[in-house]
Point group: C2
Chain length 500, copies 2
């Protein structure tokens, strides 16, 4: 006897009605995208938290209810990191082309495999990115979920090379018991340090080399420590050059580091998650000399290229090495199901161009289609213009700061970050730190200008990072003006100017 | 002098026009979603490949052109893994609620941080998932890019515990030189093996324990090897129970493995990327007994819950341990920029609820908002119904197979996978393998039924895995009928039946 079904024959979920459902969200999204009026998210937080703080529903409320909640409660209080005045951290919101391509990939390309355009565009987009950035076309590229995993993949390949040279295959046999280190400046991004933790080298294996006044790794110190470690028998897993630190945008000296990597038999990795696109500005392109001599490089399309969040990329010189480090063993349920390419009549007859042996994912969405869409829209020269404009923003801000006696430049811009602070005569650094922290707070509370902040040589710095395609000169000038005005106001309130 | 800009003041990218732009894609997406007619992707591949195989454009072609290419070239040839007849691998296409929420998150929640609903819904969705699956609410959950990274995170926590007990902090100081192993059945998913490679333990550290006829780990063998290894001083990093193997859907005996983990002082990890949702079917729920005694568990919302691709989840019992394994060091440009919670007037005054210390990402999209939307639409009982229905599909197919002398069941369904093959009297296994591979090929070429295949006890098996909410009984019955018909046809063509 063949069974009857115990439950209803159709699923509760709506699987069609896309035009209607998405159509209902679009006005709310377009309204959100205008970033009109003050940001209501913090002000109304009790209201939307109460509304969303529900237990798991036993009975679903259906698609219409979900769309209403999204349109009325969630989206209007969304994250305004794409607003023109937002220049915080290294994050922005996507442009329309990337958003559209991402939706297309969600619906029609929900795996990056098989013989179909969302697979094919992975390769096209990686080729375009490499071409744009001047990376050798022979390097193996792969998209990742972001810069953190991209750096992990690059350093996993570095680990593979370092120990293979000593006769070990760490991916197969595990890490041998040998002291091993990664060399980076003290400005290295902390995801590199976590990558060392994940890879079994340990966070302490990342040696923090001091930086010069410009935030670049001190080559003398690097050489000295490499020599000491060579004498001590330490395996040099990788030198990490940061091409655009997140604090000040400094670019480590890549070519001299490539020389050192060669001399000491180490891998050279370039972390350009934020700043690799900086190479497109010919005025600073010389800072990237030697990039093609590196062994791996990372860039995040979800930063300066302003794709939707969740797209990093890593390029590695030695494809087979990368494969040995990250290969998945063949699986019957995968490879067993695919024919040779001789007779292809279905997209499922071929895996297409494969990337799951080169990174941390197996299933993954097509990130290539998104990068392709963004680059196709604006072209190489559109991206070059953006990078130059944003670098100009930082320089213009530095000049505004230099022209105002109450503002002080803390780090001259290399790329699109400008670190500065409010100052007034006779006020000590500790007080200035407090005042500038309060300025940052009031900027967020009272103005459309939302930079983030950092420390430069121990001092609290206001730190706009210009990667947002919506930002204009108005926001640059407005930030300088507001910092001055708010700073004066706080100084007066606190009476600190009287002692001057 | 304050500089003028060297380039145009506005970006080439379109950052508004969402209603119009997305609106132009929606008809193509809705048409795609109907999966009408034969799949054109393979047939037309030269055409769309030629069209897409372009060099990086120097000048962008603008948003309208991108939308046209997406609507006319890319989307119509997209991946039909959501078609009702598709039952391959463990993948499907998302439902409308998840697609809508994903679009909302792309535009209005492009980071999961800060005081805003897309952050808040990360916590809500993790709580809902834990509640749905019967996981203790005290466990720390975190979303990942998928099951591969989710398993890597869980095993990273296991590694942390194993070596901390011996006085080492592997995330801080690196892996000590001690033999260490992970114990899993030979049916374990290969991403677990890659995780061991990434973590520095090595792929060979994963011991493949034999399985019984039902595909479940042999407890006697597991105990024997654990005892041998204990005598040899091997560190038992983790036992891995697979809750729903990808080949046959087998569920390892969790409770006895929890006993062994306790006895041998090891971590118990449950990889339920595909099958943890199986617990919602009360007829098989007993197979999951002991789950709450595990130390970590993985489930992929982008599988059976049918969210958009790119959403895995991992839950770990010991929150602080997970933090020690994956913490990011504090960074001035992040933490330095955020006030105490005392005076919050901007969403950027607070990071909200943080997850970047518990996994591999720093920046990441809000995956919680998507899971929340899907669960809110269908509720716990909607998901229970789906799981029961899909498990019924596999059982019904097994009964159809049992009722047909030319079909042979190769693995009785545990969850929603049914492995079977065509057979005919007097044909040897090697010939049956060839015939069934050809049946699989013709199914893809000629019918709407696209299962994948695997090997069961060395035999080629046709392997539908029912997780697709669009699949109905018609596709189940149609697959059985088509395999029989195509099998008979091939057997006749090849004359293999004559010898019978």
């Amino acid at each position: 006897m063949v069974r009857k079904l115990t439950d209803s024959a159709t699923d509760r979920s709506e699987t069609s009605r896309l035009v209607e459902a998405i159509g209902r969200l679009l006005p709310a999204l377009e309204r959100f995208n205008r970033y009109d009026g003050p940001d209501p998210a913090a002000r109304d937080r009790e209201r939307w938290q109460d509304r969303l703080n529900q237990p798991l529903p036993e009975h679903g409320s259906g698609l219409d209810d979900v769309l209403s909640e999204l349109a009325e409660v969630v989206i209007p209080h969304g994250l305004r990191n794409g607003a023109p005045g937002f220049s915080g951290w290294v994050t922005t919101a996507p442009t329309t082309a990337g958003t559209a391509a991402s939706l297309a990939a969600t619906v029609a390309g929900s795996q990056r495999w098989w013989l179909q355009p969302f697979n094919y565009l992975e390769s096209v987009a990686l080729r375009w990115l490499a071409d744009l950035l001047g990376l050798p076309s022979s390097w193996q590229g792969t998209f990742t979920a972001g810069g953190s995993s991209a750096n992990l993949v690059a350093l996993g390949a570095a680990r593979q090379q370092a120990f293979e040279r000593l006769g070990h295959d760490p991916a197969r046999g595990g890490l041998p018991s040998l002291p091993a280190r990664i060399y980076a400046s003290t400005e290295v991004h902390h995801v590199v340090i976590r990558a060392a933790a994940v890879l079994g080298l340990g966070r302490e294996a990342v040696v923090g080399i001091p930086v010069d006044a410009g935030g670049r790794i001190q080559l003398d110190d690097l050489r000295r420590i490499l020599e000491e470690d060579r004498s001590a028998g330490v395996v040099p897993v990788a030198l990490v050059a940061t091409a655009g630190t997140v604090n000040t945008g400094a670019v480590d000296p890549i070519a001299p580091m490539a020389d050192l990597a060669t001399e000491f038999g180490s891998w050279l990795h370039v972390d350009g998650a934020y700043g690799l696109f900086g190479r497109l500005d010919e005025r600073v392109a010389a800072l990237y000399e030697g990039l093609e001599r590196a062994d791996s490089a990372v860039v995040d399309p979800h930063k300066w290229l302003a794709t939707p969040m969740g797209i990093g990329a890593v390029f590695v010189r030695d494809r087979s090495l990368l494969g040995r480090a990250f290969t998945l063993e063949p699986a019957a349920y995968l490879e067993g199901a695919v024919d040779s390419e001789a007779d292809i009549s279905s997209p499922f007859d071929s895996f297409g161009e494969l990337f799951h042996d080169f990174n941390l994912d197996q299933s993954a969405p097509s990130r290539g289609a998104v990068v392709w869409a963004v680059l196709r829209e604006i072209g190489a020269d559109g991206m070059r213009q953006r990078v130059r404009r944003h670098n100009d923003f930082a320089r213009r801000l530095a000049e505004l700061v230099g022209a105002d006696e109450r503002l002080e430049l803390l780090a001259a811009p290399t790329l699109s970050i400008c670190c500065f602070r409010y100052r007034a005569p006779g006020i000590d650094d500790a007080t200035l730190d407090r005042i500038n922290a309060e300025i940052s707070h009031r900027l967020r509370a009272e103005t459309p200008y939302v930079p983030s902040s950092t420390r430069v040589a121990g001092r609290f710095a206001i730190r706009p990072c210009y990667i947002n395609p919506r930002t204009t000169l108005n926001e640059v000038d407005g930030l300088a003006r507001s910092v001055r005005e708010i700073g004066d106001r706080i100084a007066n309130e606190q009476g600190v100017l009287k002692s001057a």
